[in-house]
Amino acid sequence: MENQLPLIRLENISKSFGRVQANKDVTLEIMKGEILALLGENGAGKSTLMSILAGQLVPDTGTIYLGNKPVQLTTTDKAIAAGIGMVYQHFKLVNAMTVAENVFLGQKGGFWLNKQKMCRTVEQLAGQYGMTVDPRARIHDLSMGERQQVEILKLLHRKSTVLIFDEPTAVLTPSEADNLFDTMKIMVAKGKGIVFISHKLEEVMAAADNIAILRRGEIVDRVAAADVSSTAELAERMVGREVLLQVDKRVVEPHQSVLKVEELSGQQMKEINLEVRQGEILALVGVAGNGQKPLVEAICGLSKPLPGTVTLLGMEWRKFFKKGGWKNTLSYIPEDRQGLATCQGLDLLDNFLLTTRGGFSRGPWLKREEAREKANLLLEEFDIRPPDLTAFAWQLSGGNLQKMVLAREFYRKPRLIVAEQPTQGLDIAATEDVWNLLLQARNRAGILLVTGDLNEAFALSDRIGVMYNGRIVDTFRTDNKEKVEQIPQMMAGLAIS
């Protein structure tokens, strides 16, 4: 194996976007019959590197070798011709067309299409790699896992020798992910090379043969999966420091009540009672869809709390939202940070002003200069990249966008914070940052944390409430070991003796 020629060799690849260096001197080999995992945090340059390989971006410097001869992959066409195929995170499939049509799209051949033959070919190909998708089905009728199979079939049909998967399991159910890994193993057994981009440590350990770790655009480590003893070790290599997913939590004395929900029912909710005091974090855990969403919407003023009462900062619901005010009130950190929390097509300054404009207005006018100064300070303080207020929200990675939302909301000095899945989809470093920010905010505010991640609840909360089927089954202190152990049963709705 040592002397075998790699399928593809990237040599000293560098790429910058303006001042941001996305890839720096990257050298990487993709071998036949190997699953190589490319592991890195958000914004580490994984996607840029693979876009270069797929012919979508041209590197500033460096050479790509196909076998032993250098090639210029300036267009996707050339990359495809060179046998490099990419399974994108957002599938590039035409929804209105059938599976077979998608597979044959862009393929050379005669003027006419032979539909029977197309379907047969696709069916056979799918069978060879353990896939089950129906070639006659239209894409919009398929599940995410099946759509991904179509993407893979497209590449296999083009005789791609190197397949790149960009976070392939992000949209899959666990069983679909297992099927995918089986298919990957068949592919490498048939002599293909696979690169698989991920930040999920467990699956990298499970599926990959070799792991390359990318940090700030550079390859910092290369290990065989067999030599890695634990995901913790991998995590440490990835962020380059000891990851303490235990954040330092000092006890803060709870003060007055900032949120009180009494006998709230309706819209999947059943007689919910809860109270949050300043200086504490109440974590609501539970499987998604057990009433968390309507509860949050009622508390944040998106829907009327009927029947029941919600009291915020000592004011009745209607009065509270009528009074408004941008400072010292309620901050909502929604789960949907790209839809509800920000406007994708606006720049960071405008996004900053979305909820803080009250502080920067004089009569009907906005004091933009003042806002720009403040926002720039926040970008620095929260280490948001790129630190550029003219960047659009859609240009930011998930972690940076979330930090931007937190920066904005904390600037309002809220006394009540409702945070919904605040670290979903974030990498370890970003998660840690967000946790620390929430804990800091606790000194001034009461926090209602809605999360599906138990570790998050344990790390942050003072009290935990478990939701099941529209009810809060139980609420207890996080240091109550006996109750904490029963959380899985409570979440599953099993009776507690």
Binding site: K92, M97, K115
Partner: protein, 306 residues
């Protein structure tokens, strides 16, 4: 009504529906590639004038008809330059094309107003025209009508069963997927615009070379807009376009006949009928979920390439 009245009326419906059919098919072709071209009216009238002039000076209506197609394509190529090169707004560009086409044709055609040119004559198809009912309706027409019978099936087969048609539809549904598959989406869209414009030009020429043999100002009279609406009515299917075009042709023919018969209805109400029907048809078509039929990337410009 008696059959002696109905059959000529239906024959007239086919005849006045044919220019709309050409234009609608042209717009379907363009929209399938993902480009919304609201300049149908402009491309039609330029085609009408070009066909008329060529026929008048060469004496060959066939050459005039062909040249009308190229003139239509030339006109819509402006739309291509704006939308594909400069990524301008497709709606605005289409509207501008309509205004430009009408203005240009009326200006250049001033000296031809009221003058006639050689055109196409009715030519009964042997055998077929003697079929009862259908014969006089469909096979006692001019050759341009017969040509139009072949286009919808040809277009349908092109879309569904040819490699090129597959690429064209992909360009209209999801350009990013087409690009990822190695297709040149801009080239497909250019093709969609030019071929579409060719058919729009033919539709215009039908008016100046077969429907009338005369040139008058504002000859197309809003038929281009009806075609735009019919594309939605037809759910982007060439076959249904035939139905829609003949329906409108029928209303137009009926309206003329009613006027000739001297009904009590004011003529302005009768003249309004086709346009009122356009609104009605759009409402009805929107009722049914049209979103699944519409090319998903219709009217969306291509992302600039870095």
């Amino acid at each position: 009504m008696e059959i002696a009245i109905i059959i000529p009326l239906l024959a007239a419906a086919v005849q006045s529906g044919t220019p709309i059919l050409y234009a609608t098919l042209g717009e379907i072709f363009t929209e399938k590639s993902g480009v919304l071209n609201l300049g149908v009216e402009g491309a039609m009238i330029i085609g009408a004038l070009a066909g008329f002039i060529v026929s008048r000076y060469t004496g060959s209506p066939a050459l005039g008809f062909l040249m009308a197609g190229f003139a239509g394509a030339l006109a819509t190529s402006i739309h291509g330059v704006v939308c594909l090169w400069f990524r301008g707004n497709q709606v605005v560009s289409g509207l501008a094309l309509t205004i430009l086409g009408a203005g240009l044709a009326n200006y250049l055609g001033t000296s031809y107003v009221g003058i006639s040119a050689p055109g196409f004559k009715t030519m009964a198809v042997p055998l077929l025209s003697s079929i009862p009912v259908l014969g006089p309706i469909f096979f006692n027409q001019d050759i341009l009508v017969y040509i139009s019978y072949f286009i919808p099936p040809a277009m349908y087969i092109f879309f569904t069963s040819s490699r090129f048609g597959l690429g064209l539809r992909a360009a209209g549904e999801y350009p990013a997927a087409a690009t990822a598959a190695g297709l040149n989406v801009a080239a497909y869209r250019w093709f969609g615009i030019m071929v579409g414009g060719f058919f729009m030009g033919l539709g215009g020429a039908y008016l100046s070379l077969a429907y009338t043999h005369l040139w008058t100002t504002n000859l197309t009279g809003g038929r281009g807009w009806i075609a735009v609406a019919l594309v939605i009515f037809a759910f982007w299917r060439p076959g249904r376009a035939v139905l829609g075009a003949y329906l409108f042709g029928g209303i137009m023919a009926l309206q003329l006949r009613l006027q000739a018969l001297g009904t009590q209805l004011p003529s302005s109400i009768l003249l309004m009928l086709p346009y009122a029907l356009t609104v009605f048809v759009l409402v009805i078509s929107s009722w049914r979920k049209k979103t699944s039929e519409e090319p998903a990337a219709l009217g969306v410009n291509l992302e600039p390439v870095d």
